[in-house]
């Protein structure tokens, strides 16, 4: 009995695993090609097999992509733009997350006349296409003197992100019974001390979700970056595009590949470090006391 069961079990499993492995390979093959190519020199790329491992692995392409590849007229590699992106992403993520947390806290726990309508209106912000706000936003940035600045880009990302961050936090906090806020009010805590003492400590999962979401969105943004940045304030996505499109002499595929990995590395890293919280946060229900 248990024997036949085990056999059927194994056959089924084998098929499932084979399918899984096939699709996993299919999905990972571009990454494989990108990585192997980035460690080859240009001779080997021209002559060799696309799928082969590098004969003599070299860091040449990585060093060039980081420090000396040409992005348009400058030839300083991706490094300056990497730091631009960092300088855009960190404040934009933090500010939009904090505002979202406070918004969500108010909309869930300090209801007022019309608060549900306000939330509905905010939700609408999640569905506004980027293209629609390009022109008015650029006029606004110009009037504020923030055109082509890092601060301007931070502001755009914060405003665009608030709808999402508010949605995340509001839905997380609305599941927390209002008795908790009432009890804290009677205990003498005010608006902010209730937030910091009662709500913040139970918010780790939703913070992780929001930060990952915002980080990925803003780091990967191209459209806002290309429209609102100046020559010295471009984010890495725009620089990557310029790097690939600038060819001095022949096309250096190895440098392009290394540059692509450098541009994608931070988001990958964020998922690896915080990914398990991401899943936990998305599935976490109400906090039961």
């Amino acid at each position: 009995m248990s024997h036949t069961f085990a056999n059927g079990f194994n056959a089924g499993r084998a098929f499932i695993y084979a399918t899984l492995v096939f699709f996993a390979l299919l999905y990972i093959s571009p990454l494989y090609i990108i990585l192997t190519t980035s460690f080859k020199d240009i001779e080997e790329i021209r002559s060799g097999n696309l799928l082969a491992l590098p004969d003599e692995p070299t860091l040449y392409a990585w060093i060039k992509a980081w420090g000396s590849a040409c992005t348009g007229s400058d030839c300083n590699g991706l490094a300056p733009f990497f730091w631009n992106s960092i300088r855009i992403v960190i404040p934009a993520v933090l500010i939009s997350t904090i505002i979202g947390a406070l918004n969500g806290y108010v909309l869930a726990q300090w209801r007022f006349r019309g608060s549900d309508m306000l939330f509905g209106a905010l939700l609408f912000g999640c569905f506004i296409p980027f293209q629609v706000i390009l022109l008015p936003m650029s006029i606004l940035l110009g009037k504020m003197g923030l055109a082509n600045t890092i601060s301007g880009l931070v502001m755009v990302h914060v405003i665009y992100g608030i709808a999402f961050t508010t949605l995340f936090f509001r839905n997380y906090y609305v599941a927390i019974p209002s008795d908790l806020t009432k009890a804290a009010k009677l205990d003498g805590a005010g608006f902010f001390s209730i937030f910091t003492n009662v709500f913040l400590p139970m918010s780790t999962p939703i913070f992780v979700v929001t930060i990952i979401w915002q980080f990925t969105q803003i780091w990967n943004d191209f459209l806002f970056g290309v429209v609102y940045s100046g020559s010295g304030t471009q984010p890495i996505t725009v620089a990557l595009n310029n790097l690939v499109n600038t060819s001095v002499g022949g096309k250096e595929y190895n440098v392009d590949m290394a540059a692509a990995v450098i541009a994608a590395l931070p988001t990958l890293l964020v998922y690896v470090v915080a990914g398990k919280y991401f899943v936990k946060g998305l599935t976490a229900g109400a906090v039961k006391g």
Partner: protein
């Protein structure tokens, strides 16, 4: 000093009135029980006293001071919620001391208070745990501890025991009663448990549809209900209500094919009222097994066709028809057993000395 005066308090959510002109004067140190069906506004009334909801109109005084526009933290009130509402990320110690912390009580003093209260409630061994690591009864104690920590003027308890099992509920009920005796703090306590209401209360306020139906001692509420609603709501099993014709100040009751004329103490009242028909209210314990040696004024022996018997342990409920209305009597288990065997026609003893009467349409008392 913690007298509470609730004066003409009205509360509406949008266009929906929830509290309608509530007037209650609760004396310092009194244990007030608020009862009423679910959705009648008990929690809303508690919240207005606590300051968690604004009143639409009216005034609330605590210890003679108008607190109507004061925020919750300035009313010197502590509340125990049905859900306990313990802070999930804080350990028991911090849950209890949080109110003191917010009021800037020095740490040393806070710890002393927590230790004293933990000792009192026998939760000293739980101080380092999180609420999620506690049983229902333990959570209930912590919620009580949090309320006790600040020694407030007034305690508000909103169905504090309704999430506990029956045995624990009885235990905690006694503890709350003892605690009230010792501390003498004014308490407003919401419950829908009859026995909780009768055993704990100095006075009971019966609420229905946002209106105080009656405000009185447990004795008054039980024996002298203001209207049919109160009579029906208080007491378990519920009072019997029988529509009867009045004849010469006596009540005509037909049962088991026979007409009886019940003599009642309020004969003049019935005669003067000029009513032809009235609703007779008679508690089940006034209908017992026949007691031939206990014939007094306002007692009557009748024969009833017992349709059902329902043993409850100490007593057995017997069901029959009076004027085509189902009524219940409360007899000894032996009499109940006999009623089942005896071809079901059973002699019963009816005591009408505590009978009450209600208007057919309005349900108000005829007095």
């Amino acid at each position: 000093m913690g007298a509470i005066d609730i004066i003409n308090v009205t509360k509406s959510f949008g266009d929906t009135p929830v509290l309608k002109n509530i007037n209650l004067n609760i004396k310092d140190g009194e244990f007030l029980i608020l009862v009423g069906p679910s959705g009648c506004g008990k929690s809303t009334l508690m919240n207005t006293v606590a300051g968690l909801e604004d009143v639409t109109s009216g005034q609330i005084n605590i210890a003679g001071r108008d607190v109507t526009n004061l925020s919750p933290k300035n009313r010197d009130i502590a509340m125990v919620f049905q859900s306990y509402a313990l802070y999930p990320t804080m350990d028991v110690r911090r849950n209890i001391s949080f109110g003191l912390e917010m009021r800037k009580v020095p740490k040393k003093e806070r710890n002393q208070t927590v230790d004293r209260i933990a000792d009192l409630l026998q939760i000293s061994h739980l101080l380092d745990r999180k609420p999620s690591q506690l049983s229902g009864g333990q959570r209930q104690r912590v919620a009580m501890g949090r309320a006790l920590a600040r020694s407030p003027k007034v305690f508000l308890l909103d169905e504090p025991l309704s999430n506990l099992d029956a045995k624990l509920r009885v235990e905690m009920r006694m503890e709350i009663k003892k605690m009230h005796k010792r501390l003498g703090t004014t308490i407003i306590y919401v419950t829908h448990d009859q026995i909780e209401a009768m055993t704990l209360a100095d006075r009971i306020a019966v609420l229905s549809e946002g209106i105080v139906q009656q405000f009185g001692t447990p004795y008054e509420i039980y024996n002298d209900p203001a209207n049919r609603f109160v009579a029906d709501f208080m007491g378990s099993p519920a009072m019997n209500f029988i529509e009867c014709d009045i004849e010469d100040g006596r009540l005509i009751v037909e049962t088991d094919g026979q007409d009886y004329k019940f003599e009642v103490p309020d004969r003049d009242v019935l005669q003067k009222s000029g009513l032809k028909r009235v609703v007779l209210g008679l508690r089940p314990e006034m209908i017992t097994e026949a007691k031939p040696d206990q014939k007094r004024q306002f007692t009557q022996e009748i024969s009833m066709l017992v349709e059902e018997t329902e043993p409850m342990g100490a007593d057995t409920m017997v069901t029959g028809l009076w004027n085509s209305t189902e009524i219940q009597g409360r007899v000894s288990p032996e009499a109940g057993h006999a009623a089942k065997l005896n071809d079901k026609h059973t002699l019963l003893h009816v005591d009408t000395s505590k009978a009450v009467f209600f208007h057919l349409e309005t349900g108000e008392r005829v007095r």
